[in-house]
Symmetry: C2
Subunit: 220 residues, 2 copies
């Protein structure tokens, strides 16, 4: 833990993606607050996260409190709950980077691309939170169950946001989680990675695999 | 050349993507008809394509005639011209596989994802051609200039279409061009690869490279 590392709130952080990222960021020396609808549930899950050597125990709190205490807010909530949770944390995100991992999966056809009218879940979140929030979207294509372990994940993280500097911050978070982060361009471009998740779910089914991912070629 | 290989028309086939695919398919023993707005232009370009050993010379014809003579039709036309060319060839495509490579790049911001109201260029093409055409979309993410040479292209081809059998046919065409083709699911999912092309253009600029591509991981 160094003073220069921002405190991270993982909103809706009790699921596979939230706890998977939490484990890796704790291992990277970050302070992590797990957020959930109730503080009690958040604390229960935070208590299950193994503290890495030299690391700090995760804490838990209700989503709004977690967002309020953190410098960077990471959203790992199911698409169907996103709007209610965005409204809940909105007063706590002004001026902060909000990392949106939301993929617009529409039940029951989660392997069919169904982007929202705004073009992407990330653009919809930015509109809902207002100009005060600095929404960056990322981590759409990473298989959550692979993050739970310490294994290398064979998947790049495309990072989208209208501020290249904010994208750099999130690329550093990807790297702290053991993943390669790549500039994907403006927030509008989030549609590409969000759509790709449905394609990857279909590939998992069609090819009988788990955790198909993507790599960008030709840049290294 | 074997009798079992379908004759291919490459509509709008005088550009980099069209001639790049043509070279590779000629090398794979396919009969190729280059289509252009005028038969003369198409023949001029067909004459420039090197005939591979044991292969057959490409021929050229006007777009409609090329489509009419072929068993499989491949569209390699700029987005702005797509509707006019679809209307031109529509009477010639009934019952045939139409491989749409169109990416909805909107000048001047080609590195910004701007999907059409139909959700994707491929779905728009299917609507324009009507139910008689079997639209499959593919080859969105491959750098055209890399196809011109015989080098291995480090990029997968995501193939979208509502018929898995038709997708298989196009996956075989990708393989004949030296590329790995992958089932990407229904035509609606074409949005993912179309959007990704704008992301890749942005990556080329941001990282100072040419021909960034994608690989699907975890399936082989």
């Amino acid at each position: 833990m160094t003073g220069s590392k921002p405190t991270l709130a993982i909103i809706g952080g009790t699921g596979n993606l939230g706890t998977g990222l939490a484990r890796r960021w704790l291992g990277g020396g970050y302070e992590v607050i797990i957020g959930s609808r109730t503080a009690e549930k958040a604390r229960q899950v935070a208590d299950t996260l193994i503290v890495p050597e030299g690391g700090r125990k995760a804490v838990g709190d209700a989503n709004f409190q977690a967002a309020n205490l953190a410098e960077i807010i990471v959203l790992t909530v199911p698409y169907g709950w996103a709007n209610a949770i965005l409204d809940d944390i909105k007063p706590a995100v002004h001026g902060k980077i909000v990392v949106d991992t939301t993929v617009p999966l529409m039940l029951p056809k989660v392997a069919r691309v169904q982007l929202p009218p705004e073009g992407s879940a990330a653009v919809a979140a930015q509109k809902r939170l207002g100009d005060g929030a600095r929404v960056v979207s990322a981590f759409h294509n990473v298989a959550a169950q692979k993050l739970q372990s310490g294994v290398e994940v064979d998947c790049d993280v495309l990072v989208f946001g209208d501020s290249p500097d904010d994208r750099e911050v999130v690329i550093a978070l990807a790297e702290a989680a053991g993943l390669r982060g790549i500039h994907g361009g403006p927030l509008d471009n989030s549609a590409a990675a969000e759509a790709l998740t449905s394609v990857l779910i279909g590939i998992n089914r069609k090819y009988g695999v788990e955790g198909a991912g993507i790599r960008i070629t030709g840049i290294a």
